[in-house]
């Protein structure tokens, strides 16, 4: 990829204050930034000439998939690229100061004071053994801010500012005692403690639940409203669309498109940006393809199930509780019932801790129910002893969020697949033929057979997991967050693959996800869970477009929606791909 980035002047409003020289120019100017890693001759360039600028009160979003160089770019701005990095640029200026000439000391003076840096996961970036109040205090103390009493007052003020309730109590708590949302807000508080002019947030909401994400985005929005400049690093275009004034789209170290947000989302020019926007699953994308991958393969001897009205998987009043470390029983699944017909997809959506995964494991009978029961293909399932269930496990298989950990690390793809085939094959040749078919069905090549999962990309691993799940010719596949760990474009391909397979084989999916967009895209019916209970159940459009329960309403309201003013119309299955631009293959993106 050698597309030269063409910097476009940002179009945001700039307060022109003649007193303050800062406001007469951009706060941050980056021209032709190159970052490489390695020693001596083996320097690998990660960022190939990025250019952008930013004014106070403006938000620049750097968007890209994993490996695009977006985080490295952000870290360069605070001097955190590490020892073996090589940074060069035609210009790297912040508030009129040349960052290229900075020594370690200068960086320490700058970080926290002039530039605040918010990392993705507050649980790892906050000291576990230190109360969060101390952590925020530290940010002030490092820059010799005020007296002890003044700092204490400021800490409480900051916690209040980022919307932490009862700041006096929370300041004394340690990170593990706080919920994910509060932790992330405490991290924001420490980043803005010195009232920096620029805040850099690297995937600030990625690990968070939907409703918490909405709260954190609100905090960043408010900082922006107070005149702070904001750089938002994210893979999620919908999140970005909530905040950004300008967007830079990165791919493999190049900025492919750099434009005002409204323009970029309505009239994306670069084919890659177009692909990224099209790849986002949502209510509008139902029944349409998300990726431009064409499907062509033979079905071989794969079994196709006939649609019928009798439920293939039926759960009735499931209960499950676990004993916590404090000896108190917690009911994790509380009176959950559902029905899944052959060839349909039931989406289970909920926030972390809502009992989705436990429900899935009960349906798989990998966990014994405390009450209620599950039937599979009309016959008793959860009540059987494991010995009896084993014979019928071929009817129901599973795909996990993290395919890598679901493969024995010693095994090659071929061994994994051999292991997944049931009985009923004459000899090794018959098995090999079947494995070749399965790999073709999920879009893998025979050359992948000899590889180990570690040597595959994330998307390829999930394809192997799907092929393994298809191995025993199941009626139902339980998909537990199968696309959460994948990049948007890979997620699009995997979702398309799952939809194709359902069309071809009439297999049913019990599809679990925290992502409303994904759930709405793929599900026929939706089950919304909260704290172990079913709060709403019905057709996908009914539940997600016209939610009745307040919880569902809150969930739907917190979903960042990408405004797409120029509807491209539904893309039916089988439509040829948009032929434009270079091919962004999975290998490139990996």
């Amino acid at each position: 990829m050698t597309t030269a980035p063409t910097p476009i002047k940002t179009a945001g409003l700039r307060p022109a204050d003649p007193e303050n020289p800062l406001f007469q120019q951009d706060l941050l100017r980056v021209e032709n930034l190159r970052v490489g890693f390695g020693e001596k001759r083996n320097v690998t360039e990660i960022v190939h000439g990025a250019s952008f600028s930013l004014a106070p009160g403006e938000c620049l979003a750097i968007v890209g998939e994993s490996g695009s160089g977006k985080s490295v770019t952000a870290r360069t701005l605070v001097g955190l690229t590490g020892g073996k990095s090589h940074v060069s640029a035609d210009r790297l200026e912040f508030a009129g100061r040349d960052l290229l000439a900075f020594k370690d000391r200068d960086w320490r003076g700058l970080r926290g004071k002039d530039i605040g840096f918010i990392l993705q996961d507050a649980l790892v970036s906050l000291d576990q053994l230190r109360p969060v109040g101390k952590e925020i205090d530290e940010a002030l103390r490092l820059h010799d801010w005020g007296s002890k009493a003044e700092r204490q007052a400021r800490v409480l003020e900051l916690l209040e500012l980022v919307g932490v309730p009862e700041p006096e109590v929370r300041a004394r708590q340690r990170p593990y005692e706080l919920s994910g949302g509060l932790r992330q807000r405490a991290l924001i508080a420490s980043a803005i403690a010195m009232d920096p002019q620029l805040i850099i947030a690297d995937e600030p909401t990625t690990a968070l639940d939907m409703t918490v994400q909405a709260q954190v985005l609100e905090q960043l929005q408010q900082a922006k409203a107070r005149g702070k400049a904001l750089i938002l690093i994210s893979h999620d275009l919908a999140v970005v669309s909530q905040l950004a004034d300008t967007v830079a789209v990165m791919f493999n170290g190049d900025i492919l498109e750099y434009a005002p947000a409204a323009q970029l989302f309505s009239r994306p020019e670069n084919p890659y940006t177009q692909r990224l926007i099209e790849a986002i699953p949502s209510a509008d994308s139902r029944g349409a393809r998300l990726s431009p991958v064409v499907r062509s393969h033979s079905l071989g001897e794969a079994r196709r199930y006939e649609a019928s009205d009798a439920p293939v998987l039926k759960a009735e009043r499931l209960f499950k509780s676990f004993r916590g470390p404090d000896g108190v029983d917690r009911t994790v699944v509380n009176d959950v019932s559902f029905e899944l017909k052959q060839g349909e997809t039931l989406g289970i959506v909920g926030e972390s801790g809502s009992g989705k995964t436990t429900t899935a494991r009960l349906a798989l009978a990998l966990l014994e129910v405390d009450g209620g029961g599950v039937t599979l293909a009309g016959e008793e399932w959860s009540g059987l002893p494991e010995r009896e269930r084993r014979k019928r496990r071929a009817d129901i298989s599973v795909i996990y969020q993290d395919p890598l950990s679901s493969f024995d690390p010693r095994w090659s793809v071929e061994q994994i697949m051999l292991d997944a085939l049931g009985d009923g094959y004459d000899d090794k040749t018959a098995k090999r033929v079947r494995i070749a078919e399965l790999l073709e069905m999920v879009g893998l090549e025979p050359e992948h057979l000899g590889r180990r999962p570690l040597q595959l990309s994330g998307g390829q691993r999930q394809r192997v997991a799907i092929a393994r799940a298809l191995g025993p010719q199941p009626r139902v596949i339980v998909c537990d967050e199968p696309v959460s760990a994948l990049d948007v474009s890979i997620q699009a391909q995997v979702l398309d693959l799952l939809a194709d397979l359902q069309q071809e084989l009439n297999v049913s999916y019990l599809f679990i996800s925290h992502d409303l967009g994904v759930i709405h895209h793929i599900s026929d019916r939706v089950l919304v869970m909260s704290e172990g209970k079913v709060v709403e159940f019905g057709d996908a459009d009914d539940v997600l477009l016209r939610p009745h329960h307040p919880y569902t309403q809150k969930l739907v309201a917190s979903l960042p929606v990408l405004e797409r003013p120029e509807p491209t119309g539904p893309r039916p299955f089988g439509r040829p791909p948009r032929a434009a631009g270079p091919e962004f293959t999975e290998e490139l993106a990996a």
């Binding site: 190159r34 190939h48 084993r390 071929a394 040597q455």
Partner: protein, 295 residues
């Protein structure tokens, strides 16, 4: 800020970094590792065919040449009976290495048995085995050695048993942790979901994966066991004279330390060199096997 300036504006995007035509094995050559490998190879040869490395007889008493300092004739000097020290160290390698390997093998065997039992058993089995291991932990190795020597008399076997049992509880804990981690791993659940019987899952997934890191631990353990055994021998609880076992050499030289420093230093260097080399190789192996990327 940058040691190698990258191309600036106007220059075309750089091509892939230039690689010198150096084969992979040369670039990854690490002199420390190679040296450690040589040392280990040397002592392994000494263990199998000691006569290849020395012409002297380690047991030949020569009262005319007692306590000679290192010279060309005796590169490591001679002991109080005029025996060539170099030859004794070479011939002693067999017993020392045997003790190291034997003790580690015994310790591992006991540890695997207990660790797997605790890791796969129910709450009660785990509790009983784990408490038992903790009780074993409370016994210092030296105390165990005293006990065994008192009961069975000093010999190579006694030393192996003492060091083996002494190191077993540490390994057992490690094995239990490994088994627990693998037992709750994604691929074990995936195998259950495919309908494989549990015994098969244990055999095919849990056992081999739990044992994988132990290869490295064993390499490290052999060196450590030799050090332990030497310590026990130094206290006179090891193999009786005239055996040239390294710990026994240390013990024998103890009385002459003011006249003949080499009697203490030379076997000491052999012990340090060998266990250091094994540890270096073990760490290297650890990085290669568990470093994440399997190439």
């Amino acid at each position: 800020m940058s040691a190698t300036p990258l191309p600036t504006q106007g220059a075309p995007a750089p091509a892939a970094p230039r690689r010198l035509a150096v084969p992979e094995w040369v670039r990854s050559f690490r002199p420390g590792i190679a040296l450690a490998g040589l040392v280990v190879a040397f002592f392994v040869v000494a263990m199998i065919v000691p006569s290849l490395l020395t012409g002297h007889d380690p047991y030949a008493v020569n009262l005319e040449e007692t306590l000679q300092a290192p010279s060309w004739a005796h590169i490591m000097g001679t002991d109080q009976s005029g025996r060539d020290l170099y030859a004794r160290i070479i011939y002693g390698a067999r017993e020392s290495l045997l003790i190291g390997l034997g003790a580690t093998a015994l310790g591992m065997a006991v540890a695997i048995l207990l660790g797997v039992l605790a890791g796969l058993g129910n709450k009660w089995v785990d509790g009983i085995v784990s408490r038992g291991v903790e009780v074993m932990f409370a016994f210092p190795i030296l105390l165990l050695a005293l006990l065994f020597v008192a009961v069975f008399g000093p010999s190579v076997t006694t030393e192996i048993v003492a060091v083996g049992l002494g190191t077993a509880p540490g390994y057992a804990r490690m094995v239990r942790g490994q088994v627990l981690a693998v037992r709750d791993s994604g691929y074990v659940e995936a195998a259950r979901a495919l309908g494989h019987p549990y015994a098969k899952v244990v055999r095919r997934h849990i056992f081999p994966n739990a044992m994988r890191p132990l290869v490295v631990v064993m390499t490290l353990g052999v060196g450590q066991s030799i050090v332990w055994a030497s310590g026990i021998a130094f206290l006179g609880l090891g193999v009786p004279p005239p055996s040239p076992e390294w710990g026994a050499l240390l013990n024998a030289g103890r009385n002459y330390i003011t006249q003949a420093w080499w009697l203490e230093v030379m076997p000491g260097v052999a012990i340090v060199l060998f266990s250091l080399s094994l540890t270096t190789l073990g760490r290297h192996l650890q990085q290669r096997l568990e470093g994440g990327v399997n190439r």
